[in-house]
């Protein structure tokens, strides 16, 4: 088992390199398959993700669209993007603290076969400093220009 010192160092270096490269390859492969892609409503209409595939949907909550179902915990609302595109979303759970109509939201979940987006988690603006990254520039009264820019960048 005992090796010459020089050889042992080489062996160790090679072992470490192999492990790190393996980690890198596993990471690259897993990231391709597991990364959660972000969609704007218009993108979701144009090129919908596979039914059931976990993705994120980001946009504005359409004013007047939030409706709580009879069970008191399931909420339906519509997320709008640019160009009048919109996606209906269903969510069961406690709404995030700053989830309000006309504000930005990122919904994590998957598209269902009936075209609604079933959200498992909602990320809303937490405070002035904490906006889901995807929604930066989408917020507030002066957000329209930035919003257009964001979308332009994505297309």
């Amino acid at each position: 088992m005992a090796m010459k010192a020089k050889h042992q160092r080489m062996t160790l270096v090679i072992l470490a390199l192999v492990a790190i490269v393996a980690a890198g390859l596993i990471a690259a492969w897993a990231l391709r398959s597991q990364a959660n892609y972000f969609y704007l409503p218009e993108q979701m209409s144009a090129e919908p993700p596979a039914v059931g595939q976990p993705v994120r949907l980001g946009g504005m909550v359409q004013p007047g669209s939030i409706a709580t179902q009879a069970d008191g915990i399931t909420v339906d609302f519509i997320v709008t993007g640019n160009e009048d595109s919109s996606v209906p979303v269903t969510y069961s759970g406690i709404l995030p603290d700053l989830f309000v109509e006309g504000s930005g939201v990122v919904a994590e979940g998957s598209l269902q076969s009936d075209g609604t987006f079933l959200a498992t988690n909602l990320l809303a603006k937490h405070d002035e400093n904490y906006v889901p990254r995807e929604l930066e520039g989408l917020e507030g009264h002066d957000g329209n220009d930035d919003y257009a820019e964001t979308v332009a960048g994505l297309e």
């Binding site: 088992m1 005992a2 090796m3 010192a5 020089k6 042992q8 160092r9 160790l12 072992l15 470490a16 492990a19 790190i20 393996a22 980690a23 890198g24 596993i26 990471a27 690259a28 897993a30 990231l31 597991q34 990364a35 959660n36 892609y37 972000f38 976990p54 994120r56 709580t68 069970d71 008191g72 915990i73 069961s92 759970g93 406690i94 709404l95 603290d97 700053l98 994590e108 937490h126 405070d127 002035e128 400093n129 904490y130 906006v131 889901p132 990254r133 995807e134 930066e136 960048g153 994505l154």
Partner: protein, 672 residues
């Protein structure tokens, strides 16, 4: 006046860090140089001034000095006093000042206390420490001045983010920073040893307490942060693989690898270059974490301000330090001769294997954290979450836990697996039995089942080094290893149990309604408005009882702060030895059939979730024991030397009976 004093102190410390650097460089060229004398005092005075600057800012926050811009934007006169104080580091500039103060303090302690290193190595170390400090002083003074005055004092402050108005802010950031920045000393020492080619066991013994200390603080800071996020955010989760959490996990992984490798270097004079590399890596991860959190490339509750100038500044520092260190490493690594040999089946072998596994996990976390930033450069927005991190991390974590259970049972240098075949068989049997048992009980995720099995096997494995030993004569440092390894098992058990067995219920309840969750009877009694010093809230009165016991009254709240205006959710918890009940109240959920107003109530029963943090505390405690043990051994050895040869012979006899190198220590070197 306070602000001006603070600013002056910062400029002076920056100047002193230049002196430290120059004097250190002189000492490196010629240890007898008269100019080499200044490095140590400069380090100490610099530490004093930087800490003074921090306390001056603390004072400004305490008295809410609204003429200082930072106070005016981040504090409020009506805020509870404790949050005025903790608010000092609840913002970008203040937290950077804390960072720099801890950095200076570490340098000061190093310069003031460390006497064991050769003078040249010490000079080189202080030179590097001064150079690192200078960069961060420049960052503070040029782009993040915490003491900037307003032309006209503000009438009232902007207030602190309510999520941060919690005792957690008093604990989590300072401890984490001490850990982050304590690694700067490990970095400087590694560079100093590399530059002067003094990568020896003696150097490792000097480095080890610094690494251990930083690691204890990191462990504690991460544990505290996890628990804080768990109860404060109201999401019921304790780790979200948020980039900012990863930013604290990565230095911890590197520091864990480093502290094991430095132990091997100290005890066995092996793994010389690997230890240096890890020293560089650990602090690089600290700086990368600071960059990710402070630059605005990420948005989270931790990223206080988005300013591209600051981002590029920290990125520049990061490139300079890591790049510089790697260049020196590349130039010098070849001249560091290889240390002692060992076989695959030895304690060193196990440690090396786990070092590599830790590095691989680090690579997984690093790539997953940076990937969204990379794709964003190509206008593709992705998020990476648990579906990536959990399985990809587990590929390397599972072998690591297996080796971790067995490694401490092996002897140094060379061992035969047959010697510990009973232990191996025991651990394997326990793990397989648990996998089988859980698989019969129900349908749980593979990772959770493996986690449960490994945690129990690891828990037993952690205690096995005690087998056949006189408990009273087990050295403190060995207890440290046992506590830390057992802590990992406890924590892993909590994680696996939480992910496998959590029950959850979400319901719209009117007062008087009740629900059942995992044997708990949950009744909503009433919902009332309440008010605090700077918030109003809706508080639900919830009665929770398990079985026939007397109900516990819980008061989860949905709070509205008014400065800054922001709602937060305050969860209510019932802690039992076997888990925690977690209750959150949400919005009004309309009217029920009887015309009563309903409220959204979400309840989780999380079996053994608390073990996650108990484990974290145990790990940190193990680190403390280990430091104490080293100090004991150190003192013992000094007195032994003083008492002459006869006594020394005794100590050596004690040491060698445990298969240790004679004279290394009275205690066997554990692989904590």
């Amino acid at each position: 006046m306070i602000a001006e004093l603070g600013l002056a102190a910062l400029w002076l410390s920056a100047a002193l860090s230049v002196l430290m650097m120059i004097s250190g460089a002189m000492g490196l060229r010629d240890a007898a140089s008269p100019h080499a004398l200044y490095a140590r005092p400069a380090a100490v005075v610099q530490a004093f001034l930087a800490v003074l600057a921090f306390f001056l800012l603390l004072y400004a926050f305490a008295v809410t000095d609204l003429s200082i811009k930072l106070v005016a934007t981040n504090s409020h006169s009506a805020k509870p006093f404790i949050y005025k104080l903790t608010g000092t580091w609840g913002n970008h500039e203040g937290s950077m000042l804390l960072w720099v103060a801890v950095l200076a303090l570490s340098g000061g302690l190093l310069g003031g206390l460390e006497r064991r290193l050769p003078e040249k190595t010490m000079s080189a170390t202080l030179m590097v420490q001064g150079f690192v400090a200078l960069g961060f002083y420049a960052f503070m003074l040029l782009s993040s001045n915490p003491f900037e005055r307003l032309p006209v004092p503000a009438l009232e402050g902007g207030g602190l983010n309510p999520l941060l108005q919690d005792i957690g802010l008093a604990i989590h950031p300072p401890t984490l920073y001490v850990g982050y920045v304590g690694l700067s000393v490990a970095f400087s020492l590694a560079m100093g040893a590399l530059i002067t080619r003094q990568v020896t066991p003696d150097f490792a013994k000097v480095m080890r307490p610094w690494v251990l200390g930083a690691w204890v603080f990191l462990t504690f800071g991460i544990t505290a942060g996890s628990y804080w996020a768990y109860y404060e955010l109201g999401w019921g989760g304790w780790w979200f693989w948020d980039p900012v959490e990863n930013a604290s996990l990565m230095p911890w992984l590197a520091a864990t690898a480093l502290l094991h490798s430095v132990t091997v270097l100290a005890a066995r004079d092996a793994l010389r270059t690997w230890t240096i590399m890890l020293g560089v890596l650990a602090f690089s991860m600290s700086m990368l974490g600071t960059f990710l959190v402070r630059s605005g490339v990420l948005t989270s509750v931790h990223a206080f301000a988005v300013d591209p100038e600051r981002g590029s500044f920290i990125l520049g520092l990061l490139g300079l330090y890591i790049g510089g260190a790697l260049v020196i490493f590349a130039m010098r690594a070849g001249s560091i001769s290889e240390g002692k040999r060992f076989t695959v089946t030895s304690r060193e072998g196990a440690l090396v294997f786990n070092n590599v596994m830790l590095s691989a996990i680090l690579a997984i976390v690093l790539l997953g954290t940076l990937y969204p930033l990379l794709t964003e450069a190509f206008d593709v927005r992705v998020s990476v979450g648990p579906p990536y991190f959990n399985p990809a991390g587990a590929i390397f974590a599972i072998p690591m836990f297996i080796v971790m259970a067995v490694g401490p049972l092996l002897r140094w240098k060379d061992d035969k697996p047959a010697r510990i075949q009973f232990e191996l068989a025991l651990l394997a049997a326990v793990a397989i039995a648990i996998v089988a048992l859980v698989a019969i009980l129900g349908d749980y995720s593979v990772l959770a089942v493996l986690g449960l099995a490994l945690s129990v096997a690891l828990g037993i494995g952690a205690l096995l080094p005690l087998k056949g030993r006189n408990i009273r004569r087990v050295p403190t440092a060995t207890w440290g290893m046992i506590a830390a390894h057992f802590g990992v098992a406890v924590s892993l058990f909590g994680m696996a149990s939480e992910s496998a067995f959590t029950s959850e219920k979400l319901a719209a309840m009117a007062p008087g309604d009740s629900e059942v969750v995992a044997g708990w009877n949950i009744q909503l009694e009433s919902v009332d408005p309440v008010a605090g010093p700077n918030w109003t809230a809706i508080e639900a009165r919830v009665l929770a009882a398990r079985g026939d016991e007397d109900p516990t009254v819980l008061g989860p709240q949905s709070r509205n702060f008014w400065s800054p205006p922001q709602p937060t959710s305050e969860s209510a918890l019932v802690t039992r030895w076997d888990g925690q009940l977690y209750v959150v109240v949400g919005d009004s959920a309309g009217i029920d059939a009887n015309g009563n107003e309903r409220w959204q109530i979400r309840v989780w029963w999380k079996p053994f979730v608390t073990f996650i943090w108990y484990g974290g505390l145990l790990i940190a405690f193990g680190g403390i024991l280990s430091i104490v043990g080293r100090l004991q051994v150190d003192l013992k050895r000094r007195s032994a030397k003083a008492q002459g040869k006869a006594r020394r012979a005794d100590v050596e006899a004690l040491g060698s009976s445990d298969g240790d190198e004679p004279g290394t220590a009275a205690a066997p070197e554990p692989a904590e």
